[in-house]
């Protein structure tokens, strides 16, 4: 990037496990909630906003181009256009880098970007046979024709496709995301114990952060139900999480020889996050004090079945693009899709052999210091609302840098289908 993108402000909703506190709030309502708050908090005339860009993975059937629905529901002036971006788990980050491209191309001045996901509301689908049955039924005109179609009905037509399961399955390799984590566990020989140990750490860090109010500036409490309650914190982190309880869980994806359990993987989650974006120049002209800046971004891709390694691929490219090194980073958010996947990245980042074989580098990418990595816990504890996570970790890196008085951070994540995304973020 030639210039830095100012992230003027960033906030998010509390995250709740799918089927939990936010189960009745649709993806568009979650997005509208964070959007109206980002507008309310900032001294920017809503009429000056040029575009609303939201990332979303499951794309609700009743809210096509969910970004536009969000903009309207949030009460933004109706003449502000909006569109939705989709790069799977990186959709939230894509909304920001797309906005950056638009702003630096001179096509927009101020953009609201964000990510939203309601995994509670991903529907069950009718299978192809039933769909075709209904189509034939509609085409049948005479009672006799209808009768004939009806006779062809089979019970198996009613077996549904679970939308969320299908969404988490890579159509090329045919592997569900959990299976790709098992691939990495084998490639890097990561034991069940090491995975559980990491999951426990995630919970402990998230619980401590919530207790010390470290997320107070980041989370806007959201009313739930008929406004009789208020969800103030992420509901995922478990204060009483123990190593024993984790050890008791059965492997979920590979029942017999697997290591990945629901305890050391991130849960299905609902939530949304939003940021207010403009060029650094524009922010300075308006005498604003932005939360921070995006200095560089990178996306990279690899084999779908090893998608969990996306961060090392993307970060390698990011470092090249920005002429930076791993030791520059003072805070790192590497999204925790699976404990096995995080550990695999730790190994790959620090391996010269891996760098030579896969990344075309002479030296390793760099050491991933666990004390700097996901210091407030990650998706294993707080959850992973797929479309929103990219925005969440971007905002969180900046807020954590500010809280600790540091300057440079990395936000990176793996992307289903075999991609990785990485942001170089700065505060000053």
């Amino acid at each position: 990037m030639k210039e830095r993108l100012a992230i003027v402000d960033g906030i998010r909703s509390p995250l709740a496990k799918a089927g939990g506190e936010l189960k009745n709030v649709s993806a568009d309502d979650l997005g509208a909630f964070v959007t109206k708050h980002i507008v309310a908090r900032n001294s920017v005339d809503p009429h000056e906003i040029d575009e609303v860009i939201f990332g979303n993975v499951a794309q609700p059937a009743d809210a096509a181009n969910v970004a536009r629905v969000i903009a309207l529901k949030a009460g933004l002036p109706r003449n502000i256009p909006a569109y939705t971006v989709h790069r799977n788990c990186a959709s939230g980050m894509e909304s920001i880098s797309t906005a950056a491209n638009k702003i630096f191309a001179g096509e927009a001045n101020i953009i609201i970007a964000g990510g939203t996901e309601s995994m509670s509301n991903i529907p069950l689908l009718f299978n192809r046979e039933y769909t075709s049955f209904v189509q034939r039924m509609m085409r049948a005109k005479t009672p006799l024709q209808k009768m004939r179609v009806l006779m062809g009905f089979r019970l198996r037509y009613l077996s549904p496709i679970i939308g969320v399961q299908q969404g988490l399955t890579d159509p090329i390799s045919g592997m569900i995301m959990g299976d790709t984590a098992e691939v990495l566990a084998r490639e890097f020989k990561i034991s069940r114990e090491r995975q559980d140990e990491y999951a426990l750490l995630s919970h402990q860090r998230a619980v401590a952060a919530a207790e010390q109010g470290m997320l107070a500036n980041e989370i806007i409490p959201i009313p739930v139900g008929e406004y009789e309650e208020l969800l103030q914190h992420d509901s995922g982190p478990r204060p009483d999480q123990s190593a024993e309880a984790l050890a008791k869980l059965k492997p979920y994806f590979d029942r017999h020889n697997g290591t990945v359990t629901v305890g050391n993987a991130c849960p299905l989650t609902d939530g949304a996050a939003a940021v207010l974006l403009m060029s650094e120049k524009e922010a300075r002209r308006r005498k604003l004090e932005p939360l921070g800046y995006l200095r560089e971004y990178a996306y990279a891709s690899l084999e779908p079945e090893r998608m969990g390694l996306g961060p090392v691929y993307a970060t390698s490219r990011l470092l090249q693009k920005a002429k930076a090194k791993m030791s520059d980073f003072e805070v790192i958010e590497l999204n925790e899709a699976f404990a096995a996947q995080v550990i695999a990245n730790e190994i790959a980042f620090d391996s010269e052999a891996f760098a030579k074989q896969y990344l075309g580098r002479d030296s390793k990418v760099g050491f991933l210091d666990r004390s700097l990595l996901n210091p407030q816990g990650g998706a294993i504890a707080v959850g992973h609302p797929v479309g929103a996570t990219g925005t969440r970790i971007t905002v969180h890196v900046l807020r954590e840098l500010r809280r600790t008085g540091k300057n440079t951070g990395l936000a990176t994540l793996c992307v289903g289908g075999g991609q990785g995304a990485a942001f170089l973020l700065e505060v000053e």
Binding site: R41, S43, D45, P46, K73, P223, E226, Y227, E229, L230
Partner: protein, 717 residues
């Protein structure tokens, strides 16, 4: 004719156009002059059967067909005979109209009300548009009268008794689509193609298929009600149910809808001429009565308020696109609802998230309440609620064009909140206070842009009470006042300009009524008896129930402020002050006050009876008249002071404010109208007598004395 209201054009194809376009007026009215002109025109039309196949009547005014009879003419009616004669004139005219030797069709694209709808009913066919301005109805009952140009005869005949009773007795206005559904209209057309489609419809009527189709629709629309209506038992059921419903709704205080019901019932199977006679007889009975006079007066007061000079001004008024409310109490939450309900994004701020949530909940419960009465889908509610942004940050108000402060009723707090907000918002943002009793001037002094500050006092519950008191501060600019007055209108409220005095107008006048009622209790009056007397008078609830509703702590606090401001005459008793110590007996919100609210029907609270000082006095010594007059006359006395001090512009505005702010019975015409009707001398002497007996608070004000001497009245001012 020079300034002709009717314009006739004939065409080759047999369709003639008759356009009503009253010169120099915004809307068409069926005044005597307009009807006289029509009579002359009809003489000519009668001989035109050769040239005309279909006469198409329409209006030259946008958004209006005919708004009704000229209400100034109704106002001037003094005797039954005069009223009957007026009705007969219209009836006769429309009877002739029906007999014209060709088809008559009217195109209703706008309001067709009262006499206007009766004229439409006398046409052979009615075509309506889908414009939101197209409204059909009989608002006569709202003026204490009934339709007098045949509406009670032709409407039931056309659409059946159930729908006709519904329309005529309620005074409600229905859309073009609804009119088509009940068979009142024969075609429902898109406004954009109204002209072409209406002409097509007219030409169609000349073919057997076209006219058959129109009649089939009418028959179909009536089918659902036929089963009940065609049997004597069915009709009795309809009449009985209607009457029960009516009694519940009017409390028996409004005779007009009962009269309309009587007419429709009596004229069943009567011929048109005999029916019309019954109709004009009832019309004649009602029109000269005081109730009708009161309601007509209120209509004109309403019109005057609608076109009040504060709404006029140079240039475009400031638009309110976004708003913010400070203080998320029940009041703040409901004010936020007002905005969200009109699709205006609004921030709702309080210091804690719990308070914010309560405020949002208050707004949400209004939507739930509304959803019980009219169709409102869950997603409509959720989308509207999404427009309310709850926040705890002073700076997160979302670029508002207006900020309304509804925080705790404490001057220092309000000053602090307002001046803090003034720093954070844009320089052109208007600030308003919803204070009910504190000085707007005092708050204004704390601001650096006092010209953009105004008092905007909503009444509880603001979603239902139509009044807002608009208080001009010492520096408030005309533009600010106009913008806020127009906003109040947009929110569905009627703003009334009042002076910046403690309690402003309504609370100041209402408080003596409440304190005197409490005084009566202390003297041994029975609270149910007292409340009953005022329910009979026409109040929506008695004064003691009202206190429970307001909250005894709130009532006592406001009473204290007014006592400090106005001295002895507003002094509250130690008992009233003492009650607030009992935190579990603060009124309905604590489920106990003067009454207990634990069961369906409220009953007197024995614990409160214990606290009353003079429970041993026998309740019988209070007669109804005394119970009624003491609180009422004390109110009249304070109202007279408000007129003297020019707190409000006119007695009529004062009356309207009390009706819209407290539910004072409209059929009484308002408090001062009641005083005039009761007799100003009588008011003066009774006040004098009460002053001797109960204390100087009853001493009549100089204005009342003067009016009594001049044998005039408040409305003679």
């Amino acid at each position: 004719m020079m300034n002709s209201a009717w314009r006739l054009t004939t065409h080759e194809n047999g369709i003639a156009d008759l356009v009503l376009d009253l010169p120099g007026e915004k809307v068409n009215k069926l005044s005597t002059a307009v009807m006289e002109e029509l009579r002359e025109l009809m003489g000519q039309l009668g001989g035109m059967a050769e040239q005309i196949d279909v006469l198409l009547v329409s209006s030259g005014k946008t958004g209006n067909f005919i708004a009704g009879a000229d209400i100034t003419e109704i106002r001037s009616i003094t005797t039954s005979a005069e009223a009957e004669a007026k009705a007969e004139l219209g009836q006769e005219l429309l009877n002739h109209w029906v007999e014209l030797p060709f088809l008559t069709v009217c195109l209703i694209d706008g309001a067709a009300l009262g006499g206007g709808l009766e004229f439409a009913l006398a046409c052979d066919y009615r075509v309506v548009t889908d414009s939101p301005k197209t409204k059909l109805g009989f608002p006569e009952v709202n003026l204490g009268i009934i339709p007098g140009f045949g509406g009670t005869q032709r409407l039931p005949h056309l659409v059946g008794k159930i729908d006709a009773l519904d329309l005529i007795l309620s005074g409600k206005q229905i859309s073009g689509k609804q009119a088509y559904r009940i068979g009142l209209a024969d075609a429902h057309l898109p406004q954009a193609f109204a002209d072409e489609k209406t002409r097509e419809f007219c030409l169609g009527l000349l073919t057997p298929e076209g006219s058959a189709a129109a009649h089939t629709h009418r028959k179909k629309a009536r089918r659902k009600s036929l089963l009940l209506e065609c049997t004597p038992v069915g009709r009795i059921i309809i009449y009985k149910l209607t009457e029960v419903e009516l009694r519940k709704k009017t409390g028996g205080h409004y005779p007009a809808p009962f009269a309309a019901l009587r007419v429709i019932r009596k004229t069943h199977r009567m011929g048109m001429r005999a029916g019309l006679k019954v109709e004009r007889h009832e019309f004649g009975r009602l029109a000269p009565k005081q109730i009708s006079k009161n309601l007509v007066e209120l209509f004109f007061t309403g019109e005057a308020l609608k076109h009040h000079p504060i709404m006029q001004g140079e240039g475009a008024p400031g638009a309110i696109e976004r708003a913010a409310v400070l203080g998320a109490g029940v009041m703040g939450g409901r004010i936020a609802w007002l905005f969200s309900n009109k699709q205006i994004p609004v921030a709702l701020r309080d210091i804690s998230w719990e308070a914010v949530q309560q405020g949002c909940r208050a707004a949400h419960s209004v939507y739930k309440e509304v959803a019980k009465r009219k169709s409102l889908s869950a997603s409509e509610i959720s989308n509207a609620m999404q427009l309310i942004t709850g926040t705890t940050e002073a700076g997160a108000l979302g670029w508002p064009d207006i900020v309304i402060e509804a925080v705790v009723e404490d001057l220092e707090t309000k000053k602090k909140v307002l001046s803090e907000t003034e720093q954070l918002v844009e320089p052109d943002t208007i600030l308003a206070t919803n204070t009910s009793s504190l000085s707007v001037a005092a708050m204004s002094a704390a601001l650096s842009r006092p010209e953009q500050f105004v008092g905007l006092h909503f009444f509880n519950p603001p979603n239902r009470m139509p009044l807002v008191e608009l208080v001009r501060g010492p520096d408030t600019s005309d533009d600010t006042l106009r913008t806020v007055a127009l906003l109040a209108r947009k929110l569905g409220k009627t703003p009334i300009l009042v002076k910046d005095c403690p309690g402003f107008l309504v609370n100041r006048v209402l408080m003596p009524y409440l304190t005197e009622s409490v005084a009566l209790l202390e003297e041994g009056a029975d609270l149910r008896h007292l409340d009953q007397v005022f329910k009979q008078y026409g109040m929506p609830m008695g004064p003691i129930r009202l206190l429970d509703e307001i909250g005894i702590d709130v009532g006592s606090k406001v009473a204290g402020i007014l006592a400090t401001a106005y001295g002895e005459r507003m002094q509250i008793s130690p008992f009233f002050e003492g009650v607030t110590q009992h935190r579990d007996m603060l009124g309905k919100k604590t489920k106990a006050g003067f009454y207990l609210y634990d069961k369906k029907k409220p009953r007197p609270n024995p614990a409160m009876q214990e606290l009353l000082p003079h429970t041993e006095t026998p309740a019988a010594k209070f007669d109804d008249e005394q119970l009624k007059l003491r609180p009422l006359l004390l109110m009249v006395n304070e109202a007279a002071r408000c007129i003297e001090e020019e707190v409000v512009e006119s007695p009529a505005f004062l009356d309207m404010a009390l009706i819209m702010g407290t539910g004072f019975p409209a059929f009484r015409g308002g408090l001062l109208k009641w005083a005039d009707t009761y007799g100003i001398e009588q008011v003066y002497t009774t006040l004098g007598a009460y002053a001797e007996k109960y204390g100087p608070r009853f001493a009549p004000t100089p204005l009342i004395e003067e009016l009594a001497r001049k044998e005039s009245g408040f409305y003679g001012l």
